[in-house]
């Protein structure tokens, strides 16, 4: 690891669906991978997520979306993060994301997408790579 401090991740659950079991599993897995995970709970608006990310000064925001509203929610979160001066903060998305929608999300400034069944160790490794890549001297 090229950072001498824990990676800070915010896990948020935007949208109206009421299941956060998946988000909690990820939160625990990232904790077990040595990260500090700010967990914000259910039914967050993009505004709430961006405000929490700003206050917490996290390295990564992870959105868990099962509702199908990802094409509306994700670009909005990215936009608000950028407006907060957090353009270089990594955004990752997990949930039920159809293959066809992935290019649009990646184009909207998402660094990684994980669909159900993704290995939690892969998620942790990807986050490390994203953050460490950025922390490396230019």
């Amino acid at each position: 690891m090229s950072l001498n401090r824990p990676i800070r991740v915010l896990i948020a659950k935007p949208g109206l669906d009421g299941h956060d079991r998946g988000a909690k599993v990820i939160a625990r897995a990232l904790r077990d991978a040595g990260m500090e995970v700010v967990y914000t709970g259910l039914r967050q608006t993009p505004e709430m997520i961006a405000d929490a990310a700003l206050q917490e000064d996290v390295d990564v925001v992870g959105l868990s979306i099962l509702s199908g509203a990802h094409l509306a929610l994700v670009p909005r979160v990215r936009e608000l993060l950028n407006a907060n001066g957090m353009g270089d903060l990594a955004l990752i998305v997990g949930g039920i994301i159809p293959e066809d929608d992935k290019p649009a999300l990646l184009a909207a400034g998402v660094q990684a997408i994980f669909t159900p069944g993704a290995n939690t160790e892969d998620i942790a490794r990807t986050i490390h790579e994203i953050v460490d890549g950025k922390a490396a001297p230019a």
Partner: protein
């Protein structure tokens, strides 16, 4: 413009970044604290501690909402333990605080204890200073009352709320030793639950048995306040003249929050009017200097020792070739050799 200057101008992103710097012991954090120190000393610093699940986050949220309605700005530092096995942490207090997001008069920061032995990280003290300098009128620090952290909260906060809830073990043994010494206000939360009276009674009994202020009151029922015993050094600087009130709350509905705020304000007024506030601060600074000196000197010693000096000493002690005492003396001597 420097981050410190931006913080003074109300830039939340600068505050957030400086919080990260002090947490990571980044040199820019220390530099900013030097610039900002003259702007500290204004906030009312309130610690909220108690057993896991007692309702601390919900209570902090209810308090913050009511204080916001009174026009006060609020910063919240929510401290959760780092896993000793993985170094990671789940910081989940914000779940209860959603009602406070997107209010520019509220700033919430979650913090893990990281390596800090007692639980409250050293960084939390500096984080509070940043909030203070940023102009927040009230800083609320939530910390789980397990191990040492509830005693540590008294080294940072001016007013300490100890939160109990019914049914969490109401016998006197279960109410942890040490908790009364640091409590300025005792909160019995979840007052909507059965068993509140039992908890209140148990706390009252504890107070009657042990609290110095009550001893003074008992002696003063002819109208004269007499402190009968010289006061032990209570960590929160409480003198004989503050008896922690017991306030019942239902944090989920906001019940009892007004009386709680009144109790907090009474305590703050007591601190100011009795001169205890200054005594408390000087004691807290004294403790901080000792802690930091101890840490610095230890680090210096360890850095100066030859590699494996500690491991070698351990092995020799284990083989009974020497004693811990002798080894300590040698290690300190080794460090004091002039380095060529």
């Amino acid at each position: 413009m420097s981050l410190a200057q931006r913080l003074l101008n109300g830039d939340r992103r600068a505050l957030a970044r400086l919080l990260t710097y002090v947490e990571n012991e980044h040199p820019d954090g220390e530099a900013a604290l030097s610039d900002l120190f003259g702007h500290t000393g204004r906030a009312h610093i309130i610690g909220v501690t108690g057993a896991p699940g007692a309702g601390k986050s919900t209570l902090v949220t209810a308090l913050a909402k009511a204080l916001r309605a009174m026009g006060k700005t609020i910063a919240i530092l929510a401290v959760d333990p780092t896993s000793p096995f993985t170094g990671g942490a789940i910081l989940g207090d914000r779940i209860r605080m959603v009602d406070l997001t997107n209010d520019p008069g509220v700033f919430i920061r979650s913090m893990a204890t990281r390596g800090s032995l007692g639980g409250l990280s050293r960084a939390s003290r500096d984080a509070v200073r940043l909030f203070d300098a940023a102009g927040y009128a009230i800083v609320l620090i939530e910390t789980v009352g397990a191990g040492q952290s509830e005693v540590e909260i008294a080294r940072i906060a001016q007013t300490v709320l100890v939160v109990e809830a019914p049914g969490m073990g109401d016998d006197i043994q279960a109410i942890k030793a040490g908790i009364l010494e640091i409590a300025d206000v005792l909160v019995v939360n979840k007052a909507d639950r059965p068993g509140v009276d039992t908890t209140v009674r148990a706390l009252k009994l504890m107070l009657e048995l042990g609290h110095p202020a009550l001893r003074a009151n008992i002696d003063s029922h002819h109208g004269r306040m007499v402190a009968v015993t010289p006061q032990p050094e209570a960590p929160n600087g409480n003198s004989a003249f503050w008896l922690p009130p017991i306030v019942q709350t239902t944090a989920t509905t906001g019940g009892g929050i007004e009386p709680l705020i009144a109790a907090i304000e009474r305590h703050h007024a007591y601190l100011r009017e009795s001169g205890t506030l200054a005594t408390l601060e000087s004691r807290q600074i004294n403790t901080e200097l000792h802690e930091r000196l101890r840490e610095l000197l230890l680090r210096r010693l360890l850095d100066a020792l030859p590699p494996h000096a500690i491991e070698d000493a351990v092995a020799r002690i284990q083989r009974r070739e020497t004693t811990p005492h002798e080894q300590i003396a040698q290690l300190v001597d080794a460090e004091q050799q002039p380095r060529l």
